[in-house]
Amino acid sequence: MILATGPVSASFEEIKRELDRACSYMIFETRAGITEESEFSAVLKALPRLQVRIRGWKVYRDRVAERALLVVKIDPDRTDRIMQELMSLGLPENITCYAYGSRPFR
């Protein structure tokens, strides 16, 4: 399921505040390019190979920081397995990966 494909304007902090606490998320960050396809194509190709149900994804633009962010919503508490798989997939060096979960951020 795709939540949205058109880039939405938001900062990293704004995105984190909007996350659904009942789910887990992978957030991929990179320098903003021309299109979201070129920015996250390696990640989007890898997602179907991960052994986890993807609930949806959305691309954001932080125009101030000139960063693009791909937010992937997944089943809760599956991030350890996904991280292991992502590390072995060898994502491009310019993509940084974060994990956020169902617990409240302190």
Binding site: F12, S24, Y25, E29, D77, T79, D80, R81, I82, M83, Q84, L86, M87, S88, G90, L91, E93, N94, T96, C97, Y98, A99, Y100, G101, S102, R103, F105, R106
Partner: protein, 419 residues
Amino acid sequence: MKGKQVWWRKVAAVAMALGLVAMLGIVSPVGAAETVVKVGNIEPLSSPSASVGEQGKNARNMAVEEINAAGGIKSLGGAKLEMIYADSESKPEKGVAEAERLINTEKVNVLTGCWNSAVTYPTSAVAERYGIPFIVPVSVADKITEQGFKNVFRIAAKDSWWTRDQFTFLQDMEKEFGAKVETVAFVYENGDWGKGFAEQWKKLAETAGYKVVLDEPYPSTATDFSPVVNKIKRANPDVLMMVSNAADAILLTNTLAEYKVKPKAIITSGGGHADPSFLKAVGKNARYLFDIVEWETDVNKPGAKDINTKFKTKYGYNLAGESVDAYIAMYVLKDALERAGSLDPKAIREALAATNLSTGPAMIASYDVIAFDATGQNKFAALAIVQVNDLGTGLERITVWPKNARRAGYTPVFPMPKD
């Protein structure tokens, strides 16, 4: 005259005020000594990995107690290290949340952690985002130092170096003992771990000029290894390399002995071959086997024995790979802080990047220098190889490689005797 009296009154008032301030402890005569360096440590303190988290915590604490007792960070006026621990529960999202809390709320100067590579990977991104130096004692996934980050510094050898060091060891043995190795056989459990090793072995064998005469994955659940061992016997390799879990390591070793398979060397990959149950179950069938390990208590390095004795007395068990790297990490941090002379994260990061440590308590690993490459990887980190042998007091694991860390007075048995 009147002016002079007023001046003296002012001096007296100031002196009294200063005395009062000193008595109340508002200003310390050595104010800088009250500076603390806040070190945030994210470890698996609950969850199935809790025991290794606890080992890492204990090793860090012992090192920090030593550093603080010896006067703290002298270039910061004797600043003490203050340890703040957070539990990752082995969960990436918890590690990330704790990293943000430690940076934003606790205002830590440095982060360390997180043992689980899957936690360290996204957590290191948080440290990089905030520009906080992050020392990774153990997590071994290659990817952790392949993200183009400037604030991540790993002490331990990375994953791919396990196979690299197995081959370097083999080539060093060939040179030292004048025994030529031409053929190798790979036998491994067919999961990600075994297949990952085999993939790297094949590349390394090609580079080294060894002919691969057998490439045999097997299911860990196998209950009869006769077919696998028959294949090994027919292939007749000079060297047999294996990756096994505990039960299959035991069964394979006993079956190899039953079929009298005796290559020049058997080189194993930790895991089942390092399990405490292994030697008990196979006994003399494991004699002369070589196993790769992060650290062994007999490593021949100055201070290692005393530090291990102190640790064991304090916590009731020996240092191991995880705890050694955690201990080392604190001394690497101390060294960097002394050179940085500042709590500015950028200064600490620059000092860490310029680390070139070859003396002191940090040098208890099998290698001789700690320095980081441009990716933040300790470029001199290496594994150790032990040989199983009985020197008259029962079978034990004896460090043989690197040669400068070899147990004093021990000569490795290579090639393995045929009878």
